[in-house]
């Protein structure tokens, strides 16, 4: 993963060590200054040089620290850049089946906070641990050269502080998590109260809600205080440990200096150095704890990265002039393998047969209507065409060539899809219309497409016309308007094959006619698949397939299907029967009213009926 950053990162780590060395040098200079300049006769002339020496060492140290920081930043930010780009592309190239099982929120979390955790791992934690360790090593060696015995006396409590630090930060991590969980609970309670504000008011339960909230709020306070108490214990305790250690060193050192075992300069250098090795140890536990979460994030990212992408360009047959749109299904079946989102292969994935024995033929320009209830497999059937899923049995031929021979990316350019609830991006209307068209489109073309989709007038009514943003920060479009936008998009794309996924079912009656007309224009000269659960949507199709539990149970034109017994005719005749019953109902209502006029006390009885 560090490819290309290895050397830079090494420089970052090494400069941290060198900076520590320069800092240690400062204390040696101090010793020299005291012992060999101040306490010697006639060395006064050297004083300015010593002063310059301090500044020089500081420059060196500063330069190295900066170098290290810059190199670490280059590594961690470069790594984050690379990870972000890779993940973004990876996610959009993972197969449909993966997205079926993976939650949006979870993927998003991995792509954002896990990437950030990995970034911090390299920007802060590795460097931080390296800094503390090198600082310790360099300064400890320096102390040893000053005086071995004193040096050894000075590190007695360090193992203890280290252990305490590791233990404490593990505990504090747990306490912090408990605190965060309570925060989440509090938020949920609040959110429920706010979304349910009508219920709360309608039952006048304000006081009860206050009580409930107070409980959660108090719990949060208690957990917060617990966290504080832990911090309040750890820092003073280690303060005492480190402070006493420092004092012991100071005292023993001072006695040695009085005895003449060490010079006053050495003592001063010691006083400066010993601080550098004792106090930073207290933070080591924090870095180690953070580093372990960084590794967990890294592992989670690897899980996604290991999932195989869907190859877009694999396939040998891609005629540059496009396809004709002759489609033949021969005994096609599809078995869905549900993968558990974790990506671990402990158990064999569950196999669910979705389609079985599907055979039919659609000539270029023909319209195929696919009728069926929710879950009958009709959407899956058309999802096989752009190879969102690959069929598991039989074969599908496009212009006489098996579908598998076409690269997925190529196929998808040949197919246009209009959905019932289209997804729009938070961009301008123009960008949404030209989204995925794959070529430069002039404003005139966009407008022509919008006119043909009967949406041009609507767009002109928006504050910024075609440059109006869609979504939270712009206009909210109705279902029918969204649909017409995607129709305009499909017109621009001009595909040979068209899939209308439930595109006419749940639209306001007023706009229905406009959409119908727009769709008619779009369907001309294209092989079209209409998925629907209403007969009206498919009546004019050249071929109607009725699907039930993944099988074709009836096929034919509208005329043929109403001539034979079966679901189709039943549904068709239902309409007429309903009209008849409606007539009766209305007659009855009017008739009853006449009766009711005679006996006006009857209304109560009606309630009970």
């Amino acid at each position: 993963m560090l490819t290309g950053f290895r050397w830079i990162y090494l420089i970052a780590v090494v400069s941290v060590g060198l900076a520590a060395l320069a800092r240690t040098g400062t204390y040696y200079l101090l010793r020299y200054f005291v012992d060999d300049v101040l306490r010697q006769e006639g060395m006064l002339g050297l004083v300015p040089w010593v002063a310059l020496g301090f500044i020089g060492l500081a420059l060196l140290q500063g330069g190295l620290t900066f170098l290290s920081g810059r190199m670490a930043a280059r590594t961690s930010e470069g790594l984050a850049l690379r990870l972000r780009n890779f993940l973004y592309d990876h996610i959009q190239r993972l197969p449909f089946a993966y997205h079926d099982t993976m939650q949006t929120g979870e993927l998003l979390q991995r792509a954002t906070s896990d990437v950030d955790a990995v970034r911090r791992l390299f920007a802060e934690q590795v460097i931080g641990i390296g800094r503390i360790t090198l600082l310790f090593l360099v300064n400890f060696v320096a102390l040893l050269t000053l005086n071995v015995r004193l040096a050894l006396y000075s590190v007695v409590v360090i193992p203890l502080v280290l252990l305490l630090s590791l233990y404490f930060f593990k505990k504090i991590g747990e306490a912090y998590q408990a605190y965060q969980e309570q925060e989440a609970r509090l938020s949920t309670r609040l959110q429920e109260n706010l979304t349910g504000v009508r219920v709360v008011k309608a039952f006048a339960r304000q006081d009860y809600e206050r009580q409930k909230f107070e409980q959660e709020n108090r719990e949060k306070f208690l957990r917060g205080r617990r966290l504080i108490t832990m911090h309040g214990t750890y820092w003073p305790v280690t303060d005492i440990l480190c402070g006493m250690q420092t004092l012991a060193g100071y005292y023993i050192g001072a006695l040695m200096a009085i005895n003449g075992t060490i010079t006053p300069g050495t003592y001063l250098a010691y006083v400066g150095l010993v601080v550098q090795i004792i106090w930073p140890i207290r933070n080591l536990g924090r870095l180690v704890a953070q580093m372990s979460t960084g590794f967990v994030s890294f592992e989670r990212l690897s899980q996604i990265i290991r999932v195989a992408r869907e190859p877009l360009d694999q396939g040998r047959y891609a005629p540059p002039e496009g396809v004709q749109g002759d489609i033949r299904f021969e005994d096609v079946s599809f078995v869905y393998r549900r993968e558990d989102g974790s990506g671990q292969n402990g158990t064999e994935p569950e196999a669910i047969p979705v389609l079985q024995g599907i055979s039919f033929h659609a000539a270029p320009g023909q319209v195929v209507g696919i009728l069926g209830s929710t879950g009958s497999g009709k959407t899956t059937l058309v999802n096989l065409l752009p190879r969102f899923y690959d069929y598991t049995g039989g074969r599908i031929l496009l212009d006489g060539v098996e579908l598998r021979e076409y690269p997925r990316g190529y196929l998808r350019q040949q197919i246009g899809i209009v959905q019932q609830e289209p997804f729009l991006f938070s961009r301008t209307i123009r960008e949404n219309i030209t989204y995925g068209v794959g070529r430069e489109v002039s404003d005139e073309e966009v407008e022509a497409a919008a006119r043909a989709a009967a949406i041009h007038e609507v767009i002109l009514g928006f504050p910024q016309g075609y440059d109006t943003l869609v979504g939270e920060r712009g206009v909210t479009l109705s279902g029918g308007q969204k649909q017409r936008l995607t129709i305009a998009r499909a017109l621009l794309k001009d595909p040979r094959i068209l899939i209308l996924d439930d595109a006419t079912s749940s639209v306001d009656t007023e706009t229905d006619a406009a959409i119908r007309a727009a769709l008619k224009g779009l369907m001309a000269n294209r092989t079209t698949f209409i998925i629907a659960h209403r007969i009206q949507s498919v009546m004019d199709a050249d071929l109607i397939l009725v699907l039930d539990h993944g099988r074709i149970v009836q096929r034919g034109t509208h005329q043929e299907l109403i001539a034979q017994p079966g679901i189709y005719r039943e549904v068709y005749e239902l309409q007429a029967r309903i009209e008849e019953e409606l007539e009766q109902e209305i007659d009855q209502a009017i008739h009853r009213e006449e009766r009711g006029a005679v006996a006006s006390g009857e209304s109560l009885e009606r309630v009970k009926e």
Binding site: N85, T195, F213, I228, P422
Partner: protein
């Protein structure tokens, strides 16, 4: 979901003195904590400086004077001070931290209490996400300002002053020279501010990246269908490239900051060495003194450069506090009038007299509306979505009050009654029933808090909910709501019917579900409704023919106006709006009921 990823605006208002005072007052409610931590942190800062002074004395009076006895005494002093300081460190962490949590607790309580009193119109205007961040992140910021913000300032100021004091005491001339360094440090503080601005830019870009991810993941199927992967990646690369440049810049600028400060301190140390060395020769300064100066100047650097960060954080916290106070100060539009009474029951006639109502003055919803509802009558409200059916219900519940005219309940203008008197006697079932996290039993008991288990079960039986509840894994103790079992809309309606039955309300209000509910559940809901309708004044936003037909009166609402009013038969005969609605509904319902293609088979892909 997606509004979570909305960029949180960065507020950097100038310090508003009043807001700070109000925040301080929040802290002063717990003044012993406030006083305690300010005192302990001040002592800690003093002790820090005194440690350095002790080290100086160890060198001068101990080592150089060759006096082991003084040395011993100094070491004891030093040790005692360590212990005392540790105590004070515990004190300030605990006191400041607890104070911060207390202030957060208080603010959340105040906000929540206020939210319970605010009128529905407030919630119509204010997005829930906005309110949520007031109670969560803004509160945290203010809590931190009162505790750690105030603490940093106190520590910094005491530290600088104490160090200055000791330096002046050791050698006032050198102290004055060192003081010249301070303006340079102010420049460093400016530098720090610049770095913070850079990081703000990084955060902004970061939320853009999150947004881009969110859109790409939720729209992944469209992206694939339109084969737009390359173009998307190119756009995203631009964004991350910008992010890289901004983040790298911010990171290396902050990597430059520390060395800069160190360099300034090195210049100071150099000055001390040069001047101190000369003074030493003259006998005006000791070696310990020089050492102490070096330590003091190093210590002083931190608080000064930290001030830039503290200042920026304080700005943000004050902006947070302003938003919090704006919520706490919001006045409920509907409150009890002075002298409001509780009549004990609101049964009897409900009369709308010349009622005008609008949400937006330019679009009147009701104009000169009159309606007299007899006790026990069932009123069905029908019409297209968004036409204003719920307005009448909202007025009955007094979620809103008429702009003109009056509504009479229990024989008087309902504005003379207590809000609680009305709302505690209304039973309501919503279209998308709202259940709270908790068990099924708890949700039913929401209707009457002191109900016994038997009463809860009895209500569930009457609502027709008993059967399915019993079949749940843990029966009445099954957890519902977020993290609980998934209930269908129909089942949720049954539970909220039971809740309403338990409440034994004087007025019953129901908003029927539009989404299809399976036939069996539908029948149960109808039965449960009947229990509630019996002898009770009811308003029903009706979507089912059976409900509409059994109403005593039907109000057809269109474009915010009552288009028609009458019984089913009268309205059918009129062949107007109702006739059209009815025939369309009849066709839809029949189709839905009988068309095999409307069924649902176990969905897979």
């Amino acid at each position: 979901m997606s509004d979570h990823y909305f960029e949180e605006e960065e507020f950097t208002t100038q310090f508003n003195g009043q807001t700070i005072l109000r925040v301080a007052r929040q802290g002063l409610r717990h003044w012993p904590y406030m006083l305690g931590f300010l005192a302990t942190i001040g002592l800690v800062a003093l002790a820090d400086s005194y440690f350095t002074f002790l080290t100086k004395r160890i060198i001068d009076d101990g080592i150089l004077a060759q006096d082991p006895e003084t040395l011993r005494q100094l070491a004891i002093q030093y040790g005692l001070l360590i212990i005392a300081q540790a105590g004070m460190v515990f004190g300030f962490i605990w006191l400041a931290g607890t104070l911060g949590e207390k202030v957060q607790y208080d603010l959340r309580q105040q906000m929540f209490h206020r939210l319970q009193d605010l009128s529905l119109s407030y919630f119509d205007r204010t997005p829930i996400g906005w309110l949520m961040s007031r109670v969560t992140s803004d509160t945290q910021r203010v809590g931190e300002l009162v505790s750690w913000g105030f603490l940093d300032v106190t520590w910094g100021v005491t530290n600088i002053l104490a160090a200055l004091g000791f330096m002046l005491f050791i050698n006032w001339r050198l102290a004055l020279i060192v003081l010249l360094m301070i303006p340079i440090l102010v420049v460093a503080a400016e530098f720090k501010k610049k770095i913070l601005v850079e990081y703000r830019q990084v955060r902004k870009l970061n939320s853009k990246i999150t947004g881009a991810y969110n859109e790409n993941i939720t729209g992944v199927r469209v992206v694939k269908a339109l084969r737009r992967e390359e173009e998307n990646l190119r756009e995203f690369n631009q964004l991350t490239g910008e992010m890289y440049r901004a983040a790298f810049r911010a990171a290396w600028l902050s990597a430059l900051f520390l060395p800069t400060v160190q360099l300034i301190s090195a210049v100071a140390v150099g000055t001390i060495v040069w001047y101190g060395g000369w003074q030493f020769q003259l006998g005006n300064m000791t070696i310990g003194g020089i050492q102490a100066f070096i330590s003091y100047i190093t210590f002083m650097l931190w608080p000064i450069q930290e001030m830039a960060r503290v200042y920026a954080e304080m700005q943000q916290s004050v902006a947070s506090a302003e938003r919090i106070f704006s919520l706490i100060d919001a006045v409920p539009e509907i409150q009890d009038r002075p002298g409001a009474v509780d009549p004990g029951s609101i049964r009897g006639e409900i009369v709308f007299e010349n009622v005008d109502f609008y949400y937006d003055e330019a679009k009147p919803v009701l104009r000169n509306f009159n309606l007299r509802v007899k006790e026990g009558e069932t009123i069905a409200l029908v019409g297209p979505t968004g036409a204003g059916k719920s307005t009448i219900v909202n007025l009955v519940c007094r979620f809103y009050e008429p702009k003109r005219g009056s509504i009479r309940m229990a024989g008087r203008d309902y504005r003379e009654l207590k809000l609680h008197a009305i709302q505690s006697r209304i039973g309501m079932v919503l279209q998308t029933p709202h259940l709270f996290s908790g068990t099924v039993a708890e949700n039913i008991r929401y209707g009457r808090l002191d109900a016994t288990d038997q009463e809860v079960v009895a209500a569930a039986k009457m609502a027709g909910a008993h059967e399915f509840i019993r079949n749940l894994e843990k029966g009445y103790e099954t957890e519902v709501g977020e993290g609980g079992v998934l209930l269908s809309v129909g089942q949720k309606q049954l539970i909220s019917l039971a809740r309403a039955i338990l409440a034994q309300p004087d007025i019953f209000i129901m908003d029927e579900a539009t989404s299809s509910v399976d036939t069996l559940t539908e029948a149960l809901i109808q039965k449960g409704m009947e229990v509630l309708l019996e002898g009770r004044t009811s308003f029903i936003i009706a979507h089912r023919l059976s409900t509409i037909k059994r109403a005593d009166r039907i109000l057809v609402i269109e474009n915010g106006q009552v288009a028609e009013m009458g019984t089913h038969a009268e309205l059918i005969r009129a062949r107007g709006h109702y006739y059209q609605l009815y025939t369309k509904q009849f066709r839809d319902e029949m189709e839905r009921e009988r068309d095999p293609l409307f069924g649902v088979q176990p969905a897979v892909a």
